[in-house]
Amino acid sequence: MQHPSSSILHSQLSIKKVLLLGSGALKIGEAGEFDYSGSQALKALKEEGITTVLINPNIATVQTSEGVADKIYFLPVTPFFVEKVIEKERPDGILLSFGGQTALNCGVDLYRSGVFEKYDVKVLGTPVQSIIDTEDRELFVRKLDEIDVKTIKSIAVESIEAAHCAAGSLGFPVIVRAAYALGGLGSGFCNNSDELQALAEKAFNYSNQLLIEKSLKGWKEIEYEVVRDQYDNCITVCNMENFDPLGIHTGESIVVAPSQTLTNQEYHKLRELAIRIIRHIGIVGECNVQYAFDTVSEDYRVIEVNARLSRSSALASKATGYPLAFVAAKLGLGYGLNELKNSVTKSTTAFFEPALDYIVCKIPRWDLGKFHGVSHEIGSSMKSVGEVMAIGRSFEEVIQKGLRMISQGMHGFVANKELDVDDIDRALSEPTDKRIFIISQALANGYTIERIHELTKIDLWFLQKLQNIYLCAGEIEKYQSIESLPENLLREAKQKGFSDYQIAKLLFGDTDKASDEKLNLRKRRKSLNILPVVKQIDTLAAEYPAQTNYLYLTYNGTANDVHYLGDKRSIIVLGSGAYRIGSSVEFDWCSVNALNTIRERGWRGVMINYNPETVSTDYDMCDRLYFDELTHERVMDIVELENPHGLILSTGGQIPNNLALSLDKAGVPILGTTAASIDNAEDRHKFSSMLDRLRIDQPRWKELSSLEDIDLFVEEVGFPVLVRPSYVLSGAAMNVCSNAAELEQFLKLATNVSQKHPVVVSEFIENAKEIEIDAVANKGDIVTYAISEHIEFAGVHSGDATIQFPPQKLYVETVRRIKRITRAIAESLQITGPFNIQFLAKDNDIKVIECNLRASRSFPFVSKVLKFNFIEIATRVMLGEEVEKPSKSEFDLDYVGIKASQFSFSRLQKADPVLGVDMASTGEVGCIGDDYYEAVLKSMLSVGMRIPKKNILISSGTVHSKLDLLDASRLLHEKGYTIYATSGSHKFLSENNIPSILAYQPSEDLKPNALELIRDKQVDLVVNIPKNLTPGELTNGYRIRRAAIDFNVPLFTNSRLASAFIHAFCIMDLKNVPIKSWDEYK
């Protein structure tokens, strides 16, 4: 980046220290994209020699890594803590627009309360008033009226009555939006006044202002990413078009960039409006303008303006190669766009608009199957947990690539497992997360694209392209062997994005045969020279030469852009793929750290990943970035081009790990633990017999294929049991059954037990501690390790559990045994690289539950708390270096780290917010404290819990959990809180001389009723411990839990965690919580 000439005075040169607010834990609507934006902004500041301070409790992010910011605070991004940090650090400036809605809202609060003024902190970039102008709908509409820009006619209301009134004047259907809410929280469509009543009640819990708007369902949805500098120079970096028409949140839509169905006139009309808007609002930096665009005229409405970096801007950065966050940060410092360089070409100016010579397609990833009771319909509020971006040179190519990237068992648009759809018409007009596959099914059922268009309102252009794929599949199906498939058709299929497997499936009609034959197809393809080519993303469509390392593969081309040296100096790292429940930013941190180490040690770091929300897909992070699929086929394409020294698949989570066997078989040099060992750990039978051989205990389990066998086994181990079906009909994959009735119901409803689809039944040990070890070994010898302990007892998925590190309450003997077992396993599997083992401990009785020969979710957490980078050492080991064992041990630490989970139940209507054996959290935080309770308090506040001010509602579940909560309840009483308790808990508390008020169950028509207490905000903390391990939908417990979520009252469903939190806030005064940066914990 070129600096301005010295004669030009830097208007904000006085800025020496800048505070940046992060976005906290990943949640639905606010995910990894803000790690990317924040990291870029910090890089931009650092380059200027500015001292940077970051507040972000999300310990798994790249931005909270050593060296990215000068000072890092793992603290909640709330006005209270941010003010404390400002008071301590006294920054000159603050950046609010890089941490999503969380940072923006916090900034607006601090601005309003005069904190910035008090401490003389300058808000860099877009002024806060401009932010307020875009966030408050009424101000926003007024503002755009001033420049004759049309907005959606909407009425701001502050009461339910007014909402009805507004809907009456607009006419149904209407859309309800909550002001100041992220990702459309509390928003939705209402077709009548009953629906409006229900939605408005809920939405008022997130915001005191609602917007009632006339629905423009069916219009196109178009977005522009606009940049402006303080000298009023403006550019639009990218425009995007939603495949799904208006009515579906852009975060839930398939999106393409650039727009595909707009004419020049339309494109530039909206572009000109976007620039007019950004100038009038006075953005300095970046913003996103969303339009509704008519399908039969050039009429438009502005839907909203996001005066900050957003998910769309992260996508636009990846789609174009234009580093929006980086540039926005520089503009915030006072630079003009013309003073910055295009960071891809490094010779041309940053004041330009990228020209794409490819198309990108973003597809959301949902994990709705993980939740009980949640609706699969998609609409105006966001439910997806991640996204993928596919790059290619035809729509057919990118959509098929993208559908594979989603990695939910689909092979593209066609040749998938058939869906069970009763009513295709309905499934088309009421879209769900399966919409695109319903279209495929509709085509197979003879629907015309015109009919599909009528039902879905998806532009015909997209449907024409989907039909092309469908027709091509039909052509392939006419042949029954690889040899008979004509060369032209094979080439066409590859250009339309078909995978080898997909083609084999169409040829043979059988999944097993397709798996066997796909490699033969590959051979034939290569013999016919039907190969993908590598193309660069260079921002200028080849107009200027660029040394860009940002690459993708396509069959729509004849020449490679990259010249390969064949020097065997490349090391390929496989990334994490789409964020999903169970795999998110932590694996990005691992991938980035693996790349850093590879490059530091003198190798060429090559990344393959397709997740636009990540830092690992920032082309600055590696020597070559292939933004492409993580399938065997594509990885092999790249391996054959790169001819690498080796490939690392143990830092990206389960997706790359799953490729181990097939890549090994193809002769790819996998670095670290061998594929055979990985298989020995992954294969339940092999792993189990190894443990038996090593005399290591494990919960008893059996793979069973008949109900009788299951009964016999359960008789032996006793209830409860954990049941894992291999084939799931509906609902979550795993379940704990406490009695015969539950077991029977689960097996009948949720799964199909047969010889072909056996279930795994395991003994479920109650009230056992769960312990994890994260470690790195070299040729079977442990190099370093970290033992951590769950606060919750076993039964809560390790991804949802609250983890303390170092462990606080383990027997020395337990630790000793764990180390011994770990050593034995590492030795036996000859582990080289990262791995993680999970244990159950009851007294000193240790059982192994699981072993993963890859980095685990907790690697960044333990690395950062211990201040010892496990991935760095693991990577060095995998590179074949001999490393010294570190002298540092977790048992020397004078502080405690707590990793807590973030849930997004408020987004998932009707889902039972209860924790179980299947993971439900969408993100996590990690906080450090001088003692256990301080760390608990900080971490709980970081995941959105609030310290109650007055009343608490307790339903304490089983006897065991009642006991867990007894001390906590007494403390609450002593601190002057009023406890409301449902009948059993009330009785139990009375027996223990703790006063409480009886709260009636929702099913009882008596007052005070638990539901009313929540609805009327008479309680500000709900502790509701399910009695039963099986989630039920209509129980009293469910209704209380759901009400707490819907009315935004903090909820605990685990007694041990609730107790820890209650102790923490009763023992500690928030005012006295020390404000210490990461480096102050020594």
Binding site: S11, Y231, I235, L262, T263, F352, P354, Q464
Partner: protein
Amino acid sequence: MDKKVALVLENGVVFEGFSFGYEAPVAGEIVFNTAMVGYPESLTDPSYAGQILTVTYPLVGNYGVPDDKIVNGLSEFYESEKIQVAGLIISEYSCQYSHWNAAKSLGDWLKEHKVPGIYGIDTRELTKLIREKGSLKGKIVFNSPDEIDFFDPSKENLVEKVSCKEILRYGNGSKTVVLVDCGVKHNIIRCLLQYDVEIIRVPWDYDFNTLEYDGLFISNGPGDPEHCVATVRNIQKAMETGKPICGICMGNQLLAKAGGASTYKLKYGHRSHNQPVKVKQTAGLFENDGSKEAHGRGEQCFITSQNHGYAVDVKTLGEEWDELFVNMNDGTNEGICHKTKPFFSAQFHPEAASGPTDTKFLFDKFIKLI
């Protein structure tokens, strides 16, 4: 399956694709444009006369083409009365299209105007080739490479070919603007007609000094400006009157020539919607004009639409002239203005169509001068 067709370049490189337009061989200069929208506008832009256009954006034809209607001597949606390019080269063709305003497919339209089109070409590779070797002569052939000879359009006076043959008049406003048609895009006329003017559109070599007028406008046009000796002479004569003059694209080059400067051929030209230009001269024309907020530092920058293969050599610009705009990527000239007289011109296209509309205010400036 569409008919196979080959693109043969003068350096011997051959690309193979499929035909989706008219099936007759054609030869010309191969140029590329990096715009992502606007193929109907580009194809009808007279500045492309003699050229075979490569579109770098791979998906083309998506929204079809609108109906070709001429109202009061102006095409409603196009930039001239016909397709001007000699041929079209793309990667991926949408034979089906979707748009409310579309009347036919791009392929049908090409056939109607007897212009060949190829799809299935690695347009990025072709573009890189042009970028590295400079503009290339090429031909589209259907059966054998000898069907047609290579042809260098810059040797011809293309302006003469595309210019109107007689005087045309538009509008009935109070001021009169003479528009010298070197191959004018209709949107220049549409933009001017938004003001209170009458336009007299004259052929490129017409001596407009015989006419009564308030301002002179010199249009864009194809090819080498060297061919427009007559126009330059007429402009020189007009400059003596001191009446306002404005030029676009070829107009910029001709105004510069009239002022004594020379022009040269760029390696591969500027053809795109994303060319950044900045205002070089701030004392005269752009002082406190209100078109952008005044500010002390940062320069005024605009994203512009461009289509030219020749440029003004600023070193040869006379002392009475200033460079008005400069290209931020390669430093080439993007406009000039006279130090004392109301003459100015832009190398880019303020009328857009296709492309960004950021610099439309230049028409305001011209009108204010007259």
